[in-house]
Amino acid sequence: MRLEIGNINIKDVQLGNETKVEKGVLYVNQEELAKVTGDDERIASVEVYLAKPGEETRIIPVKDVIEPRVKVSGSGGIFPGFISKVDTVGEGRTHVLKGAAVVTTGKIVGFQEGIIDMSGPGAEYTPFSKTLNIVVKVDPIDGLHQHEHEAVVRLAGFRAAAYIGEAGRNVEPDDVQVYETKPLLEQAAEYPNLPKVAYVYMLQTQGLLHDTYVYGVDAKRIIPTLIYPTEVMDGAIVSGNCVSACDKNPTYVHQNSPVIHDLYELHGKEINFIGCVITNENVTLADKERSSNMTAKLVELIGAEAVIISEEGFGNPDADLVMNCRKIEKKGIKTVLITDEYAGQDGASQSLADSTPEGDAVVTAGNANEVITLPPMKTVIGYPEVADVIAGGSAGSLKEDGSITAEIQVITGATNELGFNYLTAKGL
């Protein structure tokens, strides 16, 4: 499967009469965007805001971040199973409004997490302080149950991103990147002397505000399966989770998975990237055993010699991570794990809720318990009135001046386990 990603570099975003891209500036018709986004009888109102890098703006609570893309050739459309029919995606050509992002905010539950600061110390922790954000604030009709409310806000974000992405359909991209994974036997034969590497992509799948969808299917209900990495870039995997926002993958991160991009970067040079297995993180131990058995079997079946495994979340998924690692290693296949840590505010405690001796090559995305003070911002988009009940905060976390003291787990993407974050470690 071969996909061309045409990046249209967006240098600025402005509100305008027509939604279009002109000389690197994305103009958005606010009214039209609100209308498309709010096209659901369960939505009472939609407000549109812009938030740009460097501004004294805070967005809270962030539910999802989505990159505007449009499918210009090849089968299927963006977000198959939700916005487009369930045709297979991942081939042909897709245009990306690079640098722009749709951010959804909605008050689904009473505890608020997911903060993006566009400047100040918090901005250094979230990758979405560097994107030109079009924020859609979605208010539902009264009396909507939490499950339905979550779906309403999630789908509104996809509609908004698809609407904005359309603006890139007839624009000549600034650069075109080609990503290709061939059918397995062909791919294995292409670089016979390079180690065959597969990617095990773990998806958060536990329940309300803890779910992920693949081609419109709740990923709790899948058994692990193979997916072409390029399918992910066209929105085959979308997010339905944001609790403890530091280590959850917003849809934007799925569309831009650094693990997939880095594996493609080394493909044909140091490794033969033969494919991707998606698996879940369900609540029952039988599901965990079944999924990890299946995952280990699949990576063996495709002939992988080494595997990268990324986790999404902490606690319950640590058990899945450990099972995947142990069972794959038992088959003689090397693993490298990517996770983050809840090592206590001083970083001195055990990092994960589970462990295994086979997990001897682990990359960390940072300690989510680290404490930060976010200064007050001039503008707060979303629902600032409830910022004092941030689940990752400490007592009195919202001060009178509007500053927030909390663990970095409240910041969207701070310890992202696909590596889509800024935390790093340097040798002294």
Partner: protein
């Protein structure tokens, strides 16, 4: 399989009247689960379901399998509950003031994990209420 549901979540008590009601903390639910494991019960659900940490939500529901007559200790369950208790102790107590709306939402989310588990058990013909 004979699932038993132990919970300190009033919404789960209400939804599943046969559940074992723990009038205590998150940690006490785990301790009760550990007692069961010592008597031969096995964990059906992971003790640390959800991204809400034990120092954020007060609610926890766990499903165990109580196979009649079984007294053998399942070491996988034992290890998992001990590691989970260690995580609870590491993270410490809840530090924020919980509002009525937060408590309600935490209950709904905890219930959704149990619903998610029953969905997984449905093919086995397990009676859920």
């Amino acid at each position: 399989m004979k699932p038993i549901l132990i919970t300190n979540n009033p919404l789960v008590w209400q939804t599943y009247p046969e559940s074992i009601q723990i009038k205590g903390s998150f940690r006490e639910v785990l301790l009760r689960a550990r007692d069961g494991i010592h008597r031969g019960q096995r964990l059906i659900t992971h003790p640390l379901t959800g991204s809400l940490k034990p120092n954020q939500t007060p609610y926890k529901s766990i499903i165990l399998d109580e196979e009649p007559g079984n007294q053998a200790i399942d070491l996988v369950s034992l290890q998992m509950i001990e590691k989970s208790l260690a995580t609870v102790d590491k993270l410490g107590p809840i530090k924020v003031q919980l509002t009525a709306k937060m408590l309600e939402d935490y209950q709904v989310i905890d219930l959704s994990f149990i619903e998610s588990a029953w969905d997984s058990l449905r093919p086995l013909g397990i009676k859920t209420r």
